[in-house]
């Protein structure tokens, strides 16, 4: 098994873990972890599949992944802020108590 295949396999496993976590956990914090794990899986994959050009690593995927990480960090920060606000308003950090859309009046 060469390196690239190993990375792809790792990415697939991580992605699966992420999806599982996203579906199974109710707490928003865990859901956010799960999404970040999925994101990391994709970043690994992107670096892995873009093979080296002329011996040197292709810089483009590195740059893309770097941008992707920045976006993931800011999105996570935003999500956390939203979660905290939701906790302050409702006393819970889950979506479970949502009994159907439009229940407020």
């Amino acid at each position: 098994m060469d390196n690239a295949a190993l990375y792809v396999l790792a990415a697939a496993v991580l992605f699966g873990v992420g999806v599982y976590g996203l579906i199974v956990s109710a707490h928003l914090m865990r859901k956010l972890f799960a999404i970040n794990i999925m994101g990391n899986a994709i970043f690994i994959l992107m670096v892995a599949v873009a093979g080296p050009i002329d011996g040197a690593p292709d810089p483009v995927p590195q740059a893309l992944v770097l941008t992707g990480i920045v976006i993931a960090v800011s999105a996570t920060a935003f999500a956390l802020a939203l979660m905290v606000r939701l906790y302050q308003e409702t006393g819970r950090a889950t979506l479970a108590d949502d009994n159907g859309p439009g229940n407020d009046d």
Binding site: M46, L95, P101
Partner: protein, 482 residues
């Protein structure tokens, strides 16, 4: 000249948004004007460019793709720019009353509003897959921030759910981008086609990207986040979400489908997309029919109306392209008008439950009028932009003897009529008790005027279609050129 104008169209609102955060609060009113009002005039320059030369490619800061930022201005992106600028400006007129610069929430609302505006402008111009990813994230995050801006629990929950799904959608999209780059080493939307063979891996990549975008554009059955988000957001935010934010994702799917994968044989996938659209129309309409709140009805109506945009894939002809684009325009105006009118009603009555709205037309005639006018367009009845779009869809279906789609488009107007007339009937009903007067906080009349202007726009679109249709015809994807 055009490069500078396009850069300003994106960066003026962005810089102003940054300014709003930094500069003292008393400047807010002025900054809003600086960020929005010059845009239509700036847009004239790219318009001239397109009229003269057809298309225009911008390489920002001198770096070509994949590392630089490349924009493509063509007739379709120009149409989207105009639509975005026009609708945002009219909705901003309403927002300047629901979020007056002197109030506290305005400081949170307006920067996000301008960021959303700028990032949609950048998104429709973007010509490479990764830029699309970045701008799409910006659009989503700004939109979600706006949903939550008032901090009501229902809105916060809706925003959170939207955020989780949107993040997942972005990851799917990004995964597709990664796979495509691994195959081709190219990210330019319009150059990938030359490097790409329809192998299973590339098709998977494309499918991943499209599924991600379908989530963001809330196409049935991936629509679950939309009704709560659009139904609980503040009025102007709902308006722009339904009118523009979901549409730009569909627009990107069109770009991928017809430009990037233009010469692939995607017939069965196209049929699948069309079926999703048909299901969206039926499901959204039926769901709208059983809602008890006005804004939820309008939100489900969006789920239904988005379905028409999917019919472009199976029909795939010049006429269908014009039809779908025209639907985009007229639905944008009509739906924004509806949400603004609903916001005024909500504000005045204190609730948008249908049971509380009997006889409301006596108190808020302008808003009910706007709602009804916009409804005509949504139902696809003449004379309205919605009718012309429907007519073009029908012609497109007939041209290809696609009788199933023809009947679907012709009959689906009845579903829209069912849920909209339900609302109008309630409003015409005599109130059982007099509406309590102590809660009479009449929305300022200019807020109603914004709704009326948009609704009238949707009706007038039924008479003056030539500029839009010609523009679309000039910007057809390579495979469809007449």
């Amino acid at each position: 000249m055009t490069t500078e104008a396009l850069a300003l169209i994106v960066f003026v609102p962005l810089l102003v948004a940054a300014g709003m955060v930094v500069l003292p609060r008393s400047w807010l009113g002025l900054l809003i004007r600086i960020g929005l009002l010059p845009l239509p005039f700036l847009l004239l320059i790219p318009t001239m460019e397109v009229v003269d030369n057809g298309a225009y490619r911008v390489v920002l800061a001198g770096h070509d793709s994949p590392l630089g930022i490349v924009w493509l201005l063509d007739p379709l992106s120009l149409l989207m720019l105009w639509l975005n600028v026009g609708i945002t400006l009219l909705v901003s007129l309403h927002a300047s009353f629901s979020f007056p610069p002197s109030d506290q929430p305005a400081r949170r609302f307006w920067p996000l509003w301008l960021i959303l505006f700028a990032s949609m402008n950048a998104l429709v111009l973007s010509a490479d897959l990764f830029n699309i990813y970045v701008t799409l994230e910006l659009v989503t995050l700004a939109a979600i921030g706006l949903i939550a801006v008032e901090g009501k629990p229902a809105a916060l929950r809706a925003a959170m759910r939207y955020l989780l799904l949107a993040l997942m959608a972005s990851l799917l999209y990004l995964l597709g981008v990664g796979l495509i780059y691994g195959q081709t080493g190219v990210l330019d939307l319009y150059l990938i086609a030359e490097h790409l063979e329809p192998a299973w891996l590339t098709i998977t990549a494309l499918a991943l990207m499209i599924v991600g975008l379908l989530i963001k554009s809330a196409i049935f059955p991936l629509h679950a986040w939309l009704p709560a988000a659009h139904g609980n957001a503040p009025g102007p935010v709902s308006a722009i979400l339904s009118a523009m934010v979901v549409k730009v994702s569909v627009y990107i799917i069109w770009r991928l489908w017809f430009w990037t994968a233009g010469d692939w044989d995607l017939d069965s996938a196209a049929t699948l997309m069309g079926i999703l659209g048909g299901l969206a129309i039926v499901y959204g309409s039926v769901a709208a029919l059983v809602q008890q709140r006005l804004k939820m009805i309008i939100a489900y109506s969006t789920v239904a109306q988005l379905g028409y945009l999917m019919l472009l894939f199976p029909l795939a002809s010049t006429l269908a392209f014009q039809a779908a684009s025209y639907h985009l325009v007229s639905h944008g105006m009509a739906k924004a008008a509806m949400f603004l009118a609903a916001a005024n009603i909500l504000r005045s009555v204190g609730s948008d439950r249908l049971s509380r709205l009997a006889g409301i037309d006596q108190r808020l005639p302008l808003d009910v009028f706007a709602l009804a006018l916009a409804g005509v367009s949504i139902m696809g009845l003449p004379p309205s932009g919605g009718f012309l779009a429907k007519w073009l869809f029908l012609e497109a279906a007939r041209e290809q003897e696609a009788w199933g789609w023809l009947v679907l488009v012709a009959a689906s107007g009845l579903l829209a009529a069912a849920y909209l007339f339900r609302v109008l009937a309630v409003m015409c009903l005599h109130p059982r008790r007099r509406l309590r007067s102590d809660r009479r906080r009449r929305a300022p009349n200019l807020a109603s005027v914004a709704a009326i202007l948009l609704a009238v726009g949707a009706i007038v679109a039924g008479f003056a279609s030539a500029p839009v249709l010609d523009l679309v015809a000039a910007g057809l994807p390579p495979g469809l050129a007449p």
